[in-house]
């Protein structure tokens, strides 16, 4: 079975090595400060106790107050998986250090994150749109991308036919 290294454990390990690198730690993930991100991730990859040599997936999430980039790391040798996050609360120009030097595999995924979410990765040599054409205005995956006049936000408050609440066909109150 792949052992999951919980956010707290990995945060504890990082704390010893980089004192003020961890911003927040929960059982599911550990948030690292953007300034220390590259050193922490390189250490996670190379240190004998960690050996997280495989970047499984890199995802950008728009949490409305801030942007998050989530790194799922796997270690083949020790068969473990962990989640590291980094945040940027600058809404109009979020900048996050690029991990392409740590894992070249992140190249396409960072371009996708930039293309769909608008997060600029500092240090990525070839950061351009990957799916949409260059002239495309806006970043589709952002929560406020499709703000229609009536304030309709992305997401579904409730679904038609949900028991207990009276229901009208538009699915909104």
């Amino acid at each position: 079975m792949t052992a999951t290294v919980t956010g707290l454990e990995v945060a504890g390990a990082i704390e010893q090595r980089f004192p003020d690198a961890v911003v927040e730690a929960t059982p599911e993930y550990a948030v690292v400060a953007p300034e220390e991100l590259i050193e922490v991730l390189t250490w996670l990859r190379d240190d004998d106790s960690m050996l997280f040599k495989f970047l499984s997936s890199l995802t950008a999430v728009d949490r409305e107050e801030w942007f998050e980039v989530v790194y799922h790391l796997e270690s083949f040798r020790t068969n473990r998986i962990t989640v590291i996050k980094v945040r940027s609360d600058d809404r109009d120009d979020p900048i996050v250090p690029s991990v392409v030097d740590v894992w070249p595999g992140a190249q396409l995924q960072e371009r996708e994150a930039y293309d769909l979410m608008g997060i600029r990765f500092e240090g990525n040599p070839d950061l351009r749109r990957i799916f949409l054409w260059d002239g495309f205005a806006g970043f589709p995956l952002r929560k406020d991308y499709m703000n229609l006049a009536g304030g309709q936000m992305a997401g579904l408050e409730r679904f038609p036919g949900e028991p207990g609440l009276e229901f009208n066909n538009r699915g909104t109150q």
Binding site: S57, T59, W103, F131, G155, L156, E162
Partner: protein
């Protein structure tokens, strides 16, 4: 002696091209026959599934997962459904686990047959191997049709189990298929594996060392072709993989030929799994009881139309024929996922394409692209 003045020569392979397996463009800058630069242009099939999924309930998102990797819809369903079950801590009944594994392995054989056939076609074998492999793939698709009514975009799995149980005559037909497939695989192996020209066209081409493979987040037959024995069915057994005995096929040279050999060997291992699974599959329900079942107007009680998973996030990954397919679901308690991210193996396996093709010729670039075995639906999502 001043060298001849020659300008670089840019050639576009795709988006409409017989061997790009879909709308995918490879812009090659060439110096004569040698490639000096390879740039990938994608997005022709980008439907922005991740945005659409935020507007639909968890159950309504299941059909999306078939349409990413439409050559292996079962594994797409399975990965998404496992992620949501991990989020909602749902316990799946035993028979459903076995059914999921059987369907995923059948899908792996069908998808690898397609990949190997198209690879032989890329080397110029004029569709003969592909036609033979289509004949076997048809039988598997008939089995899917019998189980869930569809052949390609199956939509067979549900959160907490599978949509319906298999009809009684399914297992005898599956067993008949399992009896004659080994003969067909033996036929392919001596038709293709030792064919002088296929060996000459694929041995030592597009080599990827294990460190490069791991560093470029490559997964699946490409990773195993480079000698790294990593298979999530063994490393993190899901469904019922821990109850069956099978091997992981690993290559030694990391070239196009080894990926092709690994896929052929994996097809045989899937047969082994299926033989054991068809014997050991227990009886029982195929769908977990989930929350208050809403009563449909016709009086038939079915699973609730939608669920509201607890706030939090979950990441589940399984071994699809193309590599590690993963679903990262973030839930904010509403009936629709807050963030729905697909870790698609075809997309990430393309990262080292430039590394592998630069320096080789156009003919090799096509064969290397064939060995990566991309499905553009999954690349562009």
């Amino acid at each position: 002696m001043t060298s001849l003045q020659s300008e670089p020569f840019v050639i576009n392979i795709g988006p409409q091209h017989p061997s790009t397996h879909g709308v995918f463009r490879l812009r090659l800058t060439m110096d004569g026959e040698k490639i000096t630069e390879a740039d990938m242009v994608m997005g022709y099939l980008h439907r922005s599934m991740e945005k659409l999924a935020e507007e639909r309930t968890y159950t309504q998102n299941i059909p999306f997962t078939d349409r990413t990797d439409y050559l292996s819809a079962m594994t797409g369903n399975l990965a998404y459904v496992l992620a949501v079950e991990r989020l909602m801590e749902v316990e799946v009944p035993e028979r459903a686990k076995w059914l999921r594994m059987i369907m995923a392995e059948l899908q792996r054989i069908a998808s690898h047959a397609m990949a190997v056939g198209i690879f032989a076609n890329d080397t110029g074998a004029w569709q003969t191997p592909v036609m033979h492999m289509f004949r076997d793939r048809e039988k598997i698709l008939d089995l899917f049709e019998m189980a869930c009514g569809a052949r390609l975009t199956l939509n067979y799995m549900r959160i907490g189990g599978v949509s319906r149980d298999i009809p009684p005559e399914w297992i005898p037909q599956a067993k008949k298929l399992l009896k004659d497939l080994p003969k067909k695989f033996a036929e392919y192996e001596d038709l293709l594996l030792t064919n002088e020209i296929i060996v000459a066209r694929s041995r030592g081409i597009g080599v990827l060392t294990p460190d490069q493979a791991i560093a470029h987040s490559v997964s699946g037959p490409m990773l195993r072709g480079s000698g790294v024995a990593w298979d999530i069915r063994k490393a993190d057994p899901y469904a019922a993989y821990d109850k069956v005995d099978f091997d992981v096929a690993v290559g030694t040279n990391g070239d196009v030929y080894d990926r092709f050999v690994v896929r052929m060997a994996e097809m045989r291992q899937s047969l082994r799994i299926l033989e054991q699974a068809l014997e050991m599959m227990p009886e029982g329900p195929v769908h977990a009881r989930l929350g208050a079942a809403t009563v449909q107007p016709g009086g038939q009680s079915i699973a609730p139309l939608a669920y509201r998973p607890p706030v939090g996030e979950a990441y589940a990954r399984i071994e699809s024929p193309r590599g590690e397919i993963g679903y990262y679901i973030v839930s904010d308690g509403s009936p629709a996922p807050f963030r729905f991210h697909i870790r698609s193996p075809s997309f990430i396996n393309l990262t080292p394409l430039a590394l592998m093709t630069v320096g080789s010729t156009v003919a090799d670039a096509v064969v290397i692209l064939g060995s990566v075995d991309i499905v553009v639906g999954e690349v562009d999502r």
